[in-house]
Symmetry: C2
Subunit: 149 residues, 2 copies
DNA sequence: ATTAATGCAAACGGTTTGCACTACT
DNA sequence: AGTAGTGCAAACCGTTTGCATTAAT
């Protein structure tokens, strides 16, 4: 209706990825662009194998080592963060601008993010009762989601 | 090798391990005894590599494949339960008589069990707010313990 | 012209498997 | 005697690395 809606200047970290890289003397290559495209379209967390597969769809010549190295590079830029999925494999969490954990359903394989607010009770009770500071970005809760339970 | 699944753990599971095995037509071997010795002395959760190393200390001829197969067998007996540590490697939880999760300190490497009581707030809030049934045995919380924080 | 990044192939480390042999029952 | 379990070596799979080549700066 009428004019385009006013949008808060949401600086897109992916758009600036190229500059961030150049600023550090890193190079902006087609392969890196592709990996970043895939990440940008992702749901927030992807297995390394997913990234490789998706890249290969766009460019069948994609090489695993290049993908891994790009993911490494992006992690040093702070754009992603790696961890391990329930099955023990590498998993990359995209854009941890706000630190968060994950919730997985063992039945349907679905996954959701757990933000600080949602984890508040947990972090508080751990701090109060055990003096334990929870690292939210490593929090993983496994179980059955509402639909599957 | 498919054994019948699922057995209730008894009061002193290690003493009865031999009988439980024989009852299923499994055999009681020195190698298995050794693995079980190691598990019995363990703190409640061990990495596969720990088990192998400890076994090798007692018997340098210990073979990884045998250890893995024994751990498999013990899991089908319900005496242990496997999962994945923070670094993504196999980890075995001994005697999950009472279901529990784990808490790890990234600084000192210490680990503690989280029992149902301690996790009560978490499980309740997940159930109430997301309809999510937490699987306590897969709960892993990472952070800094009271001493290290 | 530099030198970072790529692509390949080979190395890696933890886990699994096939198979002939051993030894528990 | 019969067969589950062992030990070895080789396969596996996801990830990492060395190195000569390519290409972004």
């Amino acid at each position: 209706m009428g004019y385009p809606r006013r949008v808060v200047a949401t600086r897109d970290p992916w758009l600036s990825a190229a500059e961030q890289m150049r600023a550090r003397g890193m190079r902006w290559t087609p392969q890196r662009r592709l990996v970043i495209d895939v990440l940008a379209r992702s749901s927030g967390h992807v297995a390394a194998s997913d990234v490789i597969e998706q890249c290969r769809r766009a460019d069948p010549l994609t090489t695993p080592s290049t993908v891994y190295r790009t993911l490494d590079a992006l992690e040093t830029l702070g754009l992603i963060q790696h961890g391990h999925a329930a099955d023990g494999h590498e998993e990359y969490h995209v854009l941890p601008q706000s630190e968060h954990g994950h919730r997985y359903c063992t039945n349907c394989g679905g996954s959701w993010e757990i933000d600080a607010k949602e984890a508040a009770e947990l972090t508080r009770s751990m701090r109060d009762r055990q003096g334990f500071e929870v690292d939210l970005s490593h929090l993983t809760i496994v179980g059955r989601c509402a639909e599957c339970a």
